[in-house]
C-alpha cells in the first residue's frame, strides 16, 4: 500500500522509497565536495554484511550471533543502555574487531578489507579526546588530512556542514571553550567530511537542543539518500518515520522493529 506523502515537523517530506528534505541546509552535505559514487568500484551496490558476529569483553558476551545486511539508507539502532549498540557501531566502524564472525564490505572480508572500508567511512563516536588547544577548523583540517581529503574542499564542506548545524560562528574558537553540544556537533561534522559511503553515528543528537537536533537529523537523512547510515539513538522519534529500517539491540542480538522500505 502506498503511503501518503506527509510533512513532519523537521521538514522532511517522505514518500515510500523516496525521501526529500525541505530543510534549507539539507543539500549542503553534497555541496563543496564531489559526492562519491553510490556504487562500489566493481559496479555493485555498496553493502555491509555482518555474519554471526560475536563480541565478548572478558567473560561478558555483548553480542552473539548477530547477522545483518546494511544497505543504503538510514538504519536506526535502538535498545537499552549497555545493550551493545555502541559496540555494534564500533565493530562496523572498524574501531574494534569481533571475537567471532565475519564482517564483509562490498563482498570482501575484514580485516583484509579494513582499509577499503575506512576510506569510505565517516565515524562519529559518542565521545572523542578532541584536542582542546586547537580550533574546530584546525581539528577538522587535521581529520580531513587523515581521511585523505583535499584541504580546500574539506574546508568548504566543513563550513557548509557547520553552517547547517549552527556551529559555523564558532569554528575559529578553541575547542577548550566548547560546550558539550558544540563538541558533539564537531564530532558529527567531521564524520560527514568527504561524503562517506558509510556513516556510523553514535548518538549524534544527544546533548543537542531540539532545533539543532532537527538540523542534524536533516543532514543525516540527506546523506542516507546515497549512503549507508547507521545511527544509534535513544530518541528515534521523527527519524523512525524516515528510517529505512529500525533495529533493536537487546539480549545480545538484533531485532528488526519496523521497515518503511524494502
Amino acid at each position: 500500500m502506498q503511503r501518503p506523502e506527509t510533512a513532519s515537523a523537521v521538514g522532511i517530506v517522505h514518500h515510500r522509497r523516496k525521501t526529500a528534505i525541505a530543510f534549507p541546509g539539507a543539500r549542503i552535505a553534497l555541496a563543496g565536495m564531489r559526492a562519491p559514487p553510490a556504487t562500489a568500484p566493481g559496479g555493485t551496490v555498496s553493502d555491509l554484511i555482518l555474519r554471526d558476529i560475536v563480541k565478548r569483553y572478558g567473560q561478558r558476551t555483548v553480542l552473539k550471533g548477530v547477522s545483518h545486511r546494511f544497505t543504503a539508507g538510514l538504519t536506526l539502532l535502538t535498545g537499552p543502555s549497555g545493550a551493545g549498540k555502541s559496540t555494534l557501531l564500533r565493530l562496523v566502524a572498524t574501531a574494534e574487531r569481533p571475537s567471532a564472525g565475519q564482517i564483509l564490505w562490498n563482498g570482501a572480508s575484514l580485516p583484509g578489507a579494513t582499509k577499503a572500508l575506512r576510506r569510505r567511512l565517516g565515524y562519529a563516536p559518542q565521545a572523542a579526546d578532541l584536542p582542546d588547544d586547537l580550533t574546530a577548523r584546525e581539528c577538522a583540517r587535521h581529520i580531513a588530512a587523515l581521511k585523505g581529503l583535499d584541504r580546500r574542499q574539506a574546508d568548504a564542506q566543513f563550513g557548509a556542514i557547520t553552517d547547517a548545524i549552527g556551529l559555523h560562528a564558532d569554528i575559529n574558537g578553541r575547542i577548550a571553550t566548547f560546550s558539550g553540544g558544540m563538541r558533539r556537533r564537531l564530532i558529527f561534522a567531521q564524520a560527514l567530511l568527504g561524503d562517506p559511503q558509510i556513516l556510523a553515528l553514535d548518538e549524534p543528537t544527544a546533548e543537542l537542543d531540539p532545533d539543532t537536533a532537527r538540523r542534524v537529523c536533516a543532514l543525516i537523512l540527506a546523506r542516507a539518500a546515497s549512503a549507508i547510515v547507521i545511527m544509534t539513538t535513544h530518541l528515534a522519534g521523527e527519524l523512525a518515520e524516515a528510517a529505512t529500517e529500525s533495529l533493536r539491540v537487546e539480549g545480545q542480538t538484533l531485532h528488526r522493529q519496523t521497515a518503511n522500505a524494502a
Binding site: 574501531a95 574494534e96 584536542p131 587535521h142 587523515l146
Partner: protein
C-alpha cells in the same frame, strides 16, 4: 605525505600554544645557569680528576649538553607525555585509513622541531653564560654551539621517538611507559659514564647515548679519569680540557648521526607496531583471577534510606583517598609483602624503598585521577574545598606510609622507621599532589617521584 604534514603542523600549532613549552624553556635556561660551576664547587659541578675544568667556550657547550642529558631528558619526557599533545582524538583517528607510520613521523618531526626551539634557547643562554665566564680573548660562540647540538640533538630526537613508541602500545601508555623510560635514562647515563679508556670508533661512541662522556674522557689526563657530575668535592685550581678535540675525535660525530638515524627508525617502528586503544581483554577465569576480581555486588536494597551526612567530612575524604591509593587486592597484597619486609632487618634499604615505590605508583595514580579536569570540575562543587581535598590526599598518603612502616616499627623500635615513613610519605604525597595539579595527570608525579626514589634507594 599529506598525513605526515598534517600531523606535523597540527602538533606544532599545539606546541606553540602550550604553557608547558614556556615552562620547559625556563627550566632549561635556569638549569643551564646552575650547570656552570662556581670556583668553590658549592653548586652543581662537572669535575675531572677532582678539578673543575677551565671555562672555555667548548666547555660551556659540553656543560649545556650535560644539562640536556641530566635535566632535560626526563623533563622533556614528562612534557611530551603529560602536556599539550597528550589528548589525541584517537577514537576518530583509528577509524581512518591514514597510515600510522605517517602520523607518527609527522608527530616525531613536530616533537623534534619543538626540541630544536628548546636547544635554540639553550644556545642563547650558553652564549650569554660564555660571555660572562669565558676569558674575553677565548670567547667563540661557534665553539659553544656545535658541541651542545652534537651532544643534545640526537638524545632529544631519540627521546621523541621513545615517547612515540611508548604511546604506540597499550601496555606502555600508562605507568609502565614511564618506568621503562626511567630505566632507559638511568641505563644510558650509566653506560655513558662507563665509557672508560680511550677506545674510539663508532661502536665505542654509540654506547655514549648521552653524548657528553666522550668529549670529557678524550680530553682528560692520561690514565683512568675520574669524572664527577653533581655535588662532588673539588680540589683548588682548574684543569685545562680540550673538549673540542673529544667532539672531533674519530667516530664521535658519526655515532651522533647514527643515533639520529636510530631515532627515526624507532619512530617508524612505533608506527609499525601501533596497536589501537581497545578495551582490555580479561583473562579466562582461574582461582587467582577470581580472587583478584571483585565478585558480584551485594543485593540492592530498593528501600535503602537516603545517605545522611558524615560527622567529620574531611576525615572521610582522607579515608577515601587512603582506600584509593591501594585499590584492589593485588595492590594491597603487594603493599603487605613490602611492609612485612620491615620485620626482616634493613628497613632503610629494603622495606622502606619497597613500600615507597608502591606508594609512589599508588599516590601518582590517585593524584592523577583526582586532578583530571573533569574530576576537578566536579570536586569544585563539593562541600569540602578543593584545597582541603588536596590536604586530605597528603594526609592520607602520609598515613598510608606510616601504616606500611608498622612492621618495621615492631621489629626495630618505633622512632627511626616512623620518622622515615612520615618524612618520605609526606614528601611524596605533597609532590604528587602538586605535580598532578600542575599537569592534570599522573605522568609528571610518577616520573619525578621515581627519579627521586632512585636517589633515595642509592643514598
Amino acid at each position: 605525505m599529506r598525513t605526515a604534514l598534517s600531523a606535523l603542523t597540527t602538533a606544532w600549532l599545539r606546541y606553540c600554544r602550550s604553557w608547558g613549552l614556556w615552562a620547559l624553556l625556563v627550566l632549561t635556561v635556569i638549569g643551564a645557569r646552575f650547570m656552570v660551576a662556581r670556583d668553590d664547587g658549592s653548586a652543581i659541578v662537572i669535575a675531572v680528576d677532582h678539578h673543575l675544568p677551565v671555562a672555555t667556550a667548548g666547555m660551556v657547550g659540553v656543560s649545556l649538553g650535560i644539562v640536556v642529558s641530566t635535566l632535560l631528558l626526563p623533563a622533556g619526557f614528562i612534557y611530551l607525555r603529560a602536556n599539550t599533545t597528550r589528548r589525541q582524538p584517537w577514537q576518530i583517528e583509528e577509524a581512518t585509513a591514514a597510515s600510522r607510520i605517517a602520523i607518527g613521523l609527522g608527530r616525531f618531526a613536530a616533537d623534534c622541531a619543538m626540541f630544536a626551539i628548546v636547544l635554540v634557547a639553550l644556545t642563547l643562554a650558553g652564549w650569554f653564560l660564555a660571555w660572562i665566564v669565558v676569558a674575553p680573548g677565548r670567547l667563540d660562540l661557534w665553539q659553544v654551539t656545535y658541541p651542545l647540538w652534537l651532544i643534545a640533538a640526537p638524545s632529544l630526537a631519540t627521546l621523541a621517538a621513545l615517547r612515540l613508541l611508548c604511546d604506540a602500545l597499550p601496555w606502555t601508555r600508562g605507568a609502565l611507559g614511564e618506568t621503562l623510560f626511567l630505566i632507559f635514562w638511568l641505563a644510558s647515563i650509566t653506560a655513558s659514564g662507563g665509557l672508560a679508556g680511550r677506545g674510539t670508533g663508532v661502536g665505542a661512541n654509540l654506547r655514549d647515548f648521552a653524548g657528553f662522556a666522550r668529549p670529557l674522557i678524550y680530553a682528560a689526563p692520561p690514565g683512568d679519569p675520574d669524572i664527577a657530575i653533581g655535588g662532588a668535592p673539588v680540589a683548588p685550581g682548574r684543569l685545562e680540557l680540550d673538549v673540542l678535540a673529544g667532539v672531533c675525535s674519530p667516530g664521535y660525530i658519526p655515532s651522533r648521526l647514527l643515533w639520529l638515524a636510530i631515532a627515526a627508525c624507532i619512530a617508524i617502528a612505533a608506527g609499525v607496531v601501533y596497536r589501537p586503544h581497545r578495551p582490555r581483554r580479561t583473562r579466562r577465569s582461574s582461582r587467582l583471577s577470581a580472587w583478584l576480581t571483585p565478585g558480584a555486588p551485594p543485593k540492592a536494597n530498593a528501600a535503602a534510606p537516603p545517605a545522611g551526612p558524615v560527622g567529620l567530612p574531611w576525615l572521610s575524604v582522607v579515608l577515601s583517598h587512603a582506600r584509593l591509593i591501594f585499590p584492589g587486592r593485588v595492590a594491597l597484597g603487594l603493599a603487605a609483602l613490602a611492609a612485612l619486609a620491615g620485620l626482616a632487618g634493613d628497613n632503610r634499604h629494603v622495606a622502606s624503598p619497597a613500600c615507597l615505590l608502591l606508594l609512589i605508583f599508588g599516590l601518582s595514580a590517585q593524584a592523577g585521577r583526582t586532578e583530571a579536569r573533569g574530576m576537578q570540575a566536579l570536586l569544585g562543587t563539593m562541600p569540602v574545598a578543593v584545597w582541603a581535598g588536596r590536604a586530605a590526599f597528603i594526609a592520607a598518603g602520609t598515613c598510608v606510609s606510616v601504616v606500611l612502616a608498622v612492621p618495621a616499627m615492631l621489629g626495630q623500635g618505633a622512632a627511626a622507621p616512623l620518622a622515615l615513613a612520615l618524612a618520605t610519605g609526606a614528601a611524596a604525597s605533597t609532590l604528587a599532589a602538586a605535580l598532578a595539579a600542575l599537569g592534570g595527570s599522573a605522568v609528571a608525579p610518577r616520573l619525578l617521584l621515581l627519579i627521586l626514589w632512585y636517589g633515595y634507594l642509592s643514598a
